[in-house]
């Protein structure tokens, strides 16, 4: 079920009323209701997906209990390996199998051997990478003895399937979310209102900015040979805002919805387009994924290879970022996207001292703005790989940019008025985000007078009613 659908408009109030009025006396019943609601929410796409999420949850639940019971390190390690195998195996079959088969066939073809291997005709379950990582982090934490395994099955099922963040994160950690399922939730007016504000801002970003940007981005990327270099540059920048507003909009709706039910979910974005370098950027962009990889991949690799000195950090960085790229999808474009991030972060690590010296000598503000602009431009350019269907498309897109037509006026793309609105919205959006960058979220406005608050709400609601696009796009990150 999409957040921006009519079905969700009925689903959310129904679950809300049942949750706070029908089953509010028992935590267990509230959890059972959340499981039912979450499975209904997820099964709305395809009921067959439910089998997969249930299997994944049950296996990790049982394995974690066994890990908790066993003190023998070897046995614990084997159980963890089994859990990782099940999780990554599922991910491999549904997401990566066809990619590897195709590439092996091509590789063998290129050296003169012809392989006959069939592709799997499977659909990619929505959000599989998100809940698989969430489930996997649980068993790893139990193995590391960071948390005790829960024996309460409803709590665990609710933790894995909690509908606000099920299909596109933020990827939660058991140590943060499971205790919230155990204790009784009390309705808090301020908390719920703040949740609704967050939902409102998330919707604005998704349906007004992201989905309107999508119209032009799709046109430009699908027919890039027909456009001038300047239009391709514009397309690249519009895509950066589409992606950010789409994904952070989803996160806002997820965090806000969870708040309405009395839950606190981790932040996933902290105004990333104002980062002063790429390292900083990845501390503010898709935080739940980058911190997941930091804790479960980067740090263990860096510890294991600590004898290598600086090379250890560089190696761990490159592996982590290539995997971040690959996590997004089974395509070389994502691998290159991740590689580029890792490459620049490695460069930043190696030049940290020199850059500090330059910073001391330069005007602070100038240094900061050069950092913000160059980081933004780098990320926007790397997104061409993220958005393109193939590496050759991405390269052709770049060669289209670096032509004489780069110095022409970008084309007006139909519908003309809508393109004008999109550019205005992006500009206003940047200004608003800049002014609110010290807040937890843009609509943290509880200190304003009621008149001012309602004026802001009404304006956003009116903008959504007038400029929203629906049915146009799923959330981009659903495909991951």
């Amino acid at each position: 079920m999409l957040f921006n659908s009519l079905a969700f408009a009925f689903f959310l109030p129904t679950v809300f009323l049942l949750y706070w009025f029908a089953v509010n006396k028992s935590v267990r019943n509230q959890n059972l209701l959340l499981i039912l609601a979450s499975y209904f929410f997820y099964g709305w796409w395809d009921w067959r997906f439910l089998v997969l999420i249930f299997f994944s949850s049950i296996s990790d639940y049982l394995i974690s209990i066994q890990i908790g019971k066993n003190e023998a390190q070897k046995k614990r390690y084997r159980l963890l390996a089994l859990s990782v195998l099940i999780n990554l195996g599922t991910l491999f079959v549904f997401k990566y199998y066809n990619f590897f088969v195709d590439n092996f066939i091509r590789l063998f073809d290129s050296i003169g051997y012809h392989l006959d291997a069939g592709s799997l005709n499977v659909i990619l379950p929505v959000g599989i990478s998100f809940y698989t990582f969430q489930s996997m982090s649980y068993t790893i934490d139990v193995y590391r003895k960071d948390i005790q395994p829960t024996k309460d099955l409803p709590v665990f099922l609710a933790y894995i399937s909690f509908f606000p963040q099920l299909v596109a994160g933020p990827i939660e950690r058991a140590s943060h979310l499971i205790p919230q399922f155990i204790k009784k939730r009390e309705f808090s007016y301020d908390y719920a209102v703040d949740g609704l504000r967050r939902v409102l801002w998330g919707f604005f970003k998704k349906v007004v900015i992201a989905d309107n940007c999508a119209v032009f981005v799709n046109k430009i990327f699908e027919s890039y040979p027909d456009y001038a270099g300047s239009t391709l540059v514009l397309g690249m920048f519009i895509f950066a805002f589409q992606l950010y507003c789409d994904f952070s909009g989803y996160s806002d709706i997820a965090i806000g919805t969870a708040k309405i039910f009395g839950f606190d979910i981790r932040e996933n974005f902290r105004f990333p387009y104002f980062s002063e370098n790429v390292t900083d950027f990845w501390r503010r962009w898709h935080i739940s994924l980058s911190s997941w990889l930091r804790d479960y991949l980067y740090t263990p690799i860096a510890i294991r290879t600590r004898d290598w000195g600086t090379k250890s950090i560089l190696f761990a960085t490159m592996v982590s970022f290539v995997l971040i790229g690959f996590w997004h999808g089974a395509n070389w474009t994502f691998v290159v996207f991740g590689f580029l991030q890792g490459f620049i972060i490695s460069y930043e690590l190696l030049t940290r001292n020199q850059r500090k010296k330059i910073k001391k000598k330069m005007n602070k503000n100038l240094y900061k703005w050069i950092g913000i602009i160059s980081t933004f431009i780098f990320f926007v350019a790397s997104l061409v790989f993220f958005r393109s269907e193939s590496l050759s498309d991405a390269m052709a897109y770049f060669s289209g940019i670096f032509s004489k037509s780069l110095f022409t006026i970008p084309s007006i793309i139909s519908p003309m008025f809508r393109m004008m609105y999109v550019l205005i919205f992006i500009l206003v959006f940047i200004i608003i985000e800049w002014r609110r960058k010290d807040k937890e979220h843009v609509l943290q406005i509880e200190n304003l007078s009621a008149i001012k608050r309602w004026f802001i709400y009404s304006t956003i609601i009116c903008l959504i009613i007038v400029f929203a696009r629906f049915n146009a796009n799923d959330f981009i990150y659903f495909q991951f």
Binding site: F187, S414, I465, V466, F467
Partner: protein, 335 residues
């Protein structure tokens, strides 16, 4: 909790009322579909894709019929090649649009190779593509495929299931149309086009290009784009769609006279169509004999008309063609 429910309840109520009011404003400027789906059931229909939607003007045809003593009132219920190729979805929509007791209607069906074909994702998969796999017909997921009610003003079913914008866009479109009209009149902007669906269902595409050379240049650009996309190599004849065309004719014959019309198009487009389905005219002739309906093939008149993109008429040609078709129907009836 009470305070929360009360405040959110009031807010939801205001938002719903606002939507109710906005829906009342919906009209031909809303989008190319709304007006066609908001009229009452009709006695006589123009059917087909975008060529018919833009190219046959009911009011013009009605005036020709009136001059000949007929009281026929046509309604243009044609959409686009994506939304309304012949198939179960379109047939269902047509059944819901005809007056159940009508028996003297006129039904003009625009036919061309594309609306009895199915579209593959790209030309490379054409060989393995099954054009008769009804579950994959693209119209299933488009407006007509999602709707249950095809009449009534405003059509909430359409607005809820298929209108891709916030309903405030209804108001915005009205303002934009006014703005376009103003810019066109004051010649402050060159290029661009906007659409308006009249009460009789005719989709008028208004273009800011007024100069005939500019129109010709724009048309050639669009034809080049068709060629580039190899669009004709993505279509495959569907015997199932052809059967649905037969079913449509059979159904319409219960309500009046049926005419099959092949529109004139630019020569380049004709050559695409010939390459794609050389036996098309023969298929239509067979239908004509099988169902005892007239088949008017205007392809040879292609040079008599002007096109915006090779596929669709400009307004003056649409008027001319509507008169031509109406006269042909009258001539045939007199014979």
């Amino acid at each position: 909790m009470k305070k929360f429910l009360l405040k959110s309840g009031v807010l939801v109520f205001i938002i719903l009322m606002l939507h109710f009011l906005l829906a009342q404003l919906a009209d031909g400027s809303t989008d190319p579909y709304f007006e066609k789906l908001s009229s009452n059931r009709q006695e006589s229909l123009i059917l087909g894709g975008s060529r018919a939607s833009e190219g046959l003007i009911p009011s013009v045809m009605d005036s020709v019929f009136t001059a000949n003593g007929s009281t026929t009132k046509l309604f243009n219920f044609a959409f686009t090649n994506s939304d309304s190729p012949y198939g179960a979805v379109y047939l269902n929509a047509i059944k819901n649009k005809i007056k159940s007791r009508s028996g003297n209607g006129i039904f003009i069906l625009s036919v061309h190779p594309w609306n009895i074909s199915s579209l593959a994702k790209d030309s490379s998969e054409l060989d393995s593509f099954d054009p008769n796999d009804e579950s994959k017909f693209r119209e299933n997921k488009l407006a007509l495929g999602k709707m249950h009610f095809f009449n009534g003003s405003p059509n909430y079913d359409y607005l809820l299931s298929s209108y891709d914008y916030g309903w405030g866009n209804i108001l915005l479109k009205k303002l934009e149309n006014g703005m376009f009209e103003y810019l066109a009149k004051s010649s402050k902007l060159k290029g661009g086009a906007w659409a308006y669906v009249h009460e009789d269902g005719w989709l008028e595409v208004k273009s800011m290009l007024s100069d005939s050379t500019e129109i010709a240049e724009s048309m050639m650009k669009k034809i080049e784009a068709y060629k580039k996309r190899e669009i004709n190599h993505c279509y495959k004849y569907s015997s199932l769609r052809y059967d649905y065309l037969k079913k449509t004719i059979r159904k319409l014959k219960e309500h009046g006279k049926v005419y099959l019309v092949r529109f004139p198009v630019h020569e380049e487009i004709i050559s695409f169509e010939k390459e794609m389905m050389p036996e098309f005219d023969q298929l239509m002739e067979e239908l004509s004999v099988e169902f005892d309906v007239d088949y008017f093939n205007f392809v040879s008149d292609s040079k008599k008309y002007n096109y915006s993109d090779g596929n669709h008429f400009i307004k003056s040609s649409a008027v001319k063609f509507s008169i031509e078709v109406a006269n042909r129907i009258i001539d045939n009836n007199e014979r």
